[in-house]
């Protein structure tokens, strides 16, 4: 059962790809997983066509799953179009992670993907289905 922390995940956690935010980003969003305190901020730079993701960078802190999954995500979406990523199902990322996750850890795993979808939605108006809403850190304080 040590699969979850098999080498590839630990490798992404210890040496994250796409680490660091992009200075002149075209799209950026941040999100939290309030249950764990996981935090991820993702920034995107588009290619000259204004649609293709030329580079994507992130910063964050949290458990190995959340950070490794976001690192994997940056590799997964590089060179893809915003509309394509907006409709990318969570399974595409979960296949990359490749191990079964409990519902709570699932939220850690898809945090980065949700934040990226929010960033693209804000910058490009791409659709943001209901299941991905609320990851952009809506402030629900009272008083």
């Amino acid at each position: 059962m040590d699969d979850l922390y098999r080498e590839v995940i630990l490798d992404h956690y210890k040496s994250p790809r796409g680490h660091g935010l992009i200075d002149d980003a075209d799209a950026q969003a941040e999100g939290q997983n309030p249950l764990c305190g996981d935090e991820v901020t993702i920034s995107v730079k588009f290619a000259a066509d204004g649609e293709t993701i030329a580079s994507v960078g992130f910063e964050g802190r949290g458990c190995a799953i959340s950070q490794a999954a976001t690192s994997m995500l940056t590799e997964l979406v590089q060179g893809r179009k915003a509309t394509e990523v907006a409709s990318l199902p969570r399974e595409a990322l979960l296949d990359e992670i490749g191990i079964p996750l409990t519902p709570i850890r699932l939220k850690c795993a898809i945090l980065g993907l949700g934040v990226l979808k929010v960033a693209l939605h804000k910058a490009k108006g791409t659709p943001l289905p209901e299941e991905w809403q609320g990851m952009g850190g809506d402030d629900l304080t009272f008083g």
Binding site: D2, L35, C36, I65, G143
Partner: protein
């Protein structure tokens, strides 16, 4: 139920869905009618959200101030802050958990109750984390309300209890309204049933309440003194062993001032990762903020890993915990 907490009368014991509901009952029924501008609601930095958020919310609703008693680096209340808090306005409510669910700290509720009464305030005790582990005597504590829950003491979820002083309960308006809590209903007016039914509207969780009673009988038969002594041995063992592990930091007070809880962090490794690997090693711990986010902020962490001991825990399990933490460290090294 009455005997379990040494309540003067069974009429003062109200069945609720949970300790959370019990505290909301006090906050709404007592708080909305008794709090206003110039009043101060006092909670502590180590409250469970169930005894924090309702008071924060009702304080805002009524215009009362919301003050907190800070903790020291051992996770113990700094009572010398009380003098300053008393200068802020009319102290009306002091709310505190008897035992911290995150650190295991045993709080000086008797002292706080005395201080509250000196200032004309009521003392509300969240005993959800204390009731399974040590004797509760509402009269000795000197509090005015006390809430606890079934699921933390071997009983089913969906059942909790509130004890309150009769004179306060009688003055209070009902919380939930409907069947059972009425004496008579007419188009013109409705009158309330006697205690405790006035606060028990609707069909109760009958099976759960029965299970709650069975759990109390069971725990009482084992003996709370025996449970407390057993947990203490495990806590001493765990704190000694974890204290020797490099890179492990234990939160909270020394063993003799806490119940059977050891909250810790493993340096550089997120508690969820710690818990996940411990889980595979057959050690069940809780990782997270434990519904005590203000405490996490004070401790400077997003979350902790918490080992909890109860009457069924054994020394071998503490050893497995220690071996499991070594495995966690090896995995992430």
């Amino acid at each position: 139920m009455r005997a379990f907490i040494n309540a003067p009368s069974h009429r003062e014991v109200i069945f609720t869905r949970s300790a959370t509901e019990a505290i909301n009952l006090i906050a709404y029924s007592w708080g909305l009618d008794n709090l206003g501008p110039g009043d101060v609601v006092v909670i502590t930095e180590l409250e469970h959200h169930a005894n924090f958020v309702p008071w924060q919310f009702i304080a805002k609703r009524t215009g009362a101030q919301f003050a907190h008693i800070p903790i020291d680096d051992y996770g113990e209340l700094q009572l010398d802050a009380l003098d300053e808090i008393a200068t802020r306005g009319n102290i009306k409510v002091v709310a505190n958990n008897l035992v911290s669910n995150t650190l295991g700290t045993i709080n000086p509720v008797e002292k706080l109750a005395a201080w509250a009464h000196e200032h004309g305030a009521i003392m509300v005790v969240d005993a959800a984390q204390a009731a399974p582990h040590r004797h509760i005597d509402v009269q000795a504590l000197g509090c005015d309300f006390l809430a606890f829950s079934s699921h933390k003491l071997c009983g089913p979820s969906g059942a909790g209890a509130l004890w309150g002083r009769r004179e306060l309960l009688e003055e209070m308006q009902p919380f939930n309204l409907g069947g059972e809590m009425i004496r008579s209903v007419a188009l013109e007016r409705t009158s309330w049933n006697e205690l405790p039914y006035k606060f028990e509207a609707g069909t109760p969780a009958i099976a759960e309440a029965y299970g709650f009673g069975q759990a109390i009988d069971y725990v009482s038969a084992v003996g709370l003194d025996a449970i407390e002594a057993h947990e203490h041995e495990l806590v001493v063992q765990a704190m000694d062993a974890l204290g020797e592990l490099p890179g492990v930091r234990i939160f909270g007070p020394p063993a003799d001032r806490r119940t059977g809880i050891v909250s810790f962090e493993v340096e550089g490794i997120h508690p969820h990762d710690v818990a996940q690997i411990l889980n595979w090693e057959g050690v069940a711990v809780r990782a997270g903020h434990h519904c005590t986010q203000p405490l996490m902020t004070r401790l400077g962490v997003a979350a902790t890993t918490r080992a909890s001991f109860y009457l069924y825990s054994i020394p071998e399990e503490v050893e497995r915990l220690v071996e499991g933490i070594k495995k966690v460290q090896a995995t992430f090294s």
